[in-house]
């Protein structure tokens, strides 16, 4: 049981980001660290991501999601980190007092000097797509089905239609096929898949599951249980072509249509959010608009690879330790503007006095493109960009000092094909 309610660092969220952050703090210095997790086990989404392909960057080998998770759980248990499971954080106030609600101890107040938010993300649901039709059962988000199948041990149905070609959708197409379901097809609204290329190869092509790009679900049929969907082609402006509609029978519809960073808690303490990432606005140290509160993981921006989440967790941990040492962020930040061909950039603002790792999310696929930093006079050639893969570009601090005058407090980043 956790007795001392005063901490130096409280990490909220026990997924890969939070575990990495808590472990790194405890590894580097003797501090009072607390890790708070809502579920009954650590790992966040990892225990249900039973497929392999994790860990190439961090561990130098290919691991299954639960293995990656277990290595961090084993590590954290050896370190001096307090863990609260089954505990939900309700709010954070200006003095960084955290109110939690847990099954064992009820409602408690925890005091801390700094906070790392690693809150994860949520799946977009039918409600956010406005699919017309009836409201039967049998419509699930892909991650919910992943949990049902891989942790709880239930199958959602037999004849499956998947809308959206995000990675979880592709992986569930394979998983459900292996469990004996009939996956009728994966339908993607955009003219390209939003998942990793290798997942299209190993999850769809290996099992002859068809992928239809520029297609979407335009109607749902069925009263108690879903009976069919109407599939329509879409035109260049993503509008359904009426004449192309056809009815496809199914008993389950999986939605893999995007993830939204979870920041209800961040809002309770007035942290400023970026409307592009839906995550907090951060600087290169991953400090949010509130001093002493840092962000990492999928609540900051939606990552493609868990290895990157771990690395961001390390950055947040080291920044929190710097903060405890009395280091202060500058007030006059240089703003970063995501320009042409770019969905978003993290960090959204930089101090200009240290090296910066830019995480750039391309807005659409392009070949032989240039990534240009206006105001910095920096350009990088890339063979191929794809919305499914973040582009990482490191800029040395000298580059900012050199360009201090011309950039006038704003650096724009564009991808030009």
């Amino acid at each position: 049981m956790v007795k001392d309610r005063k901490y130096d660092v409280v990490v909220i969220g026990g997924g890969p980001g939070g575990m990495a952050a808590a472990a790194r703090v405890a590894e580097l210095e003797i501090k009072r660290v607390l890790l708070i997790e809502r579920d009954l086990f650590l790992g966040g989404i990892l225990p249900q991501c039973i497929h392999s392909g994790f860990g190439v960057k961090i561990f130098g080998k290919e691991l299954a999601g639960p293995q990656y998770c277990q290595l961090f759980i084993d590590k954290i248990k050896k370190l001096n980190v307090d863990i609260m499971l089954g505990t939900m954080v309700l709010s954070i106030d200006e003095e960084k007092n955290i109110i939690v609600s847990g099954k064992i101890n009820g409602i408690e107040k925890i005091q801390t000097k700094s906070i790392i938010l690693s809150l994860g993300c949520r799946e977009r649901t039918r409600g956010q797509l406005n699919i017309p039709g009836t409201r039967p059962s049998g419509i699930f988000t892909a991650g919910v089905v992943q949990r049902m199948v891989n942790i709880e041990g239930y199958l959602p149905g037999k004849d499956i239609v998947i809308l959206g070609s995000g990675d979880i959708g592709l992986i569930m197409a394979r998983r459900l096929t292996l469990e004996g379901c009939n996956v009728k097809g994966v339908y993607e609204l955009m003219p390209f898949s939003t998942g990793l290329i290798r997942n299209i190869a190993q999850c769809l092509e290996d099992y002859d599951i068809p992928l239809f790009i520029s297609h979407t679900v335009t109607k749902i049929y069925g009263n108690k249980r879903i009976e069919a969907v109407r599939i329509s082609k879409v035109d260049g402006s993503l509008n359904p072509i009426r004449a192309s509609g056809k009815r496809i029978s199914c008993d389950t519809l999986l939605l893999s249509v995007g993830l939204i960073p979870e920041n209800e808690l961040s809002k309770t303490c007035g942290i400023k959010l970026d409307s592009r990432t839906n995550g907090p606005i951060v600087d290169e140290n991953l400090q949010t608009s509130t001093e002493g509160i840092f962000a990492c993981g999928n609540s900051l921006y939606v990552n493609d690879l868990v290895d990157n989440v771990t690395e961001d967790g390390y950055v947040a941990a080291e920044s929190a330790l710097n903060y405890l040492r009395g280091w202060k962020a500058k007030n006059n930040f240089i703003d970063i503007k995501a320009g042409k061909g770019i969905a978003y950039v993290v960090p959204q603002r930089v101090s200009g006095s240290s090296d910066v790792l830019f995480r750039i999310r391309p807005g659409r696929p392009a070949r032989d493109a240039n990534i240009e930093f206006s105001g910095l006079g920096y350009k990088k050639k890339v063979k191929r960009v794809n919305p499914g893969e973040l582009v990482f570009i490191k800029i040395k601090k000298e580059q900012f000092t050199k360009a201090a005058l011309p950039c006038k407090g704003v650096i724009g980043i564009d991808i030009k094909a």
């Binding site: 999601g65 277990q70 891989n150 942790i151 290329i197 290798r198 290996d206």
Partner: protein, 125 residues
């Protein structure tokens, strides 16, 4: 001579590989960005293999472990691609009880494929 186009699945880059084949022998491999691509392409022609992951029934002894009804398992090394469905069918018959440790061998040399099935995670203690 025939040309085969495949996607390298070794890492998230997903290189598009072109393999030129003549008399069942690889003449050239292009499109790769590292050595792993060559190895993968050779494997795809001679003996295609995939990592296999699935879950098996888990009987929990303690209340805390009851959060998991299934234990995630995997093949230690890639298994022959054409045997995957057969292996999955066989693995499905197995039940285990907690405690289980990551790396515990669940089945050795499953259906004579030369590949072991191990636990991907520890549950209990």
């Amino acid at each position: 001579m025939s040309e085969k186009k495949i996607t390298c699945i070794t890492c998230p880059l997903g290189c598009n590989l072109k393999i030129n084949i003549e008399n069942n022998k690889i003449v050239s491999i292009t499109g790769n960005q590292c050595k792993k691509g060559i190895k993968f392409a050779e494997g795809e022609i001679k003996d295609p293999r995939r990592i296999l992951t699935t879950t098996i029934k888990l009987k929990a002894q303690g209340r805390k472990e009851a959060a998991f009804n299934r234990l995630p398992v995997r093949s230690v090394a890639p298994a022959p691609k054409d045997k995957i469905l057969e292996i999955i069918k066989e693995v499905r018959k197995i039940k285990v009880s907690t405690p289980v440790k990551m790396g515990d061998i669940i089945v050795k040399n499953i259906i004579g494929s030369g590949v072991d099935i191990i636990a991907s995670m520890s549950v209990g203690n």
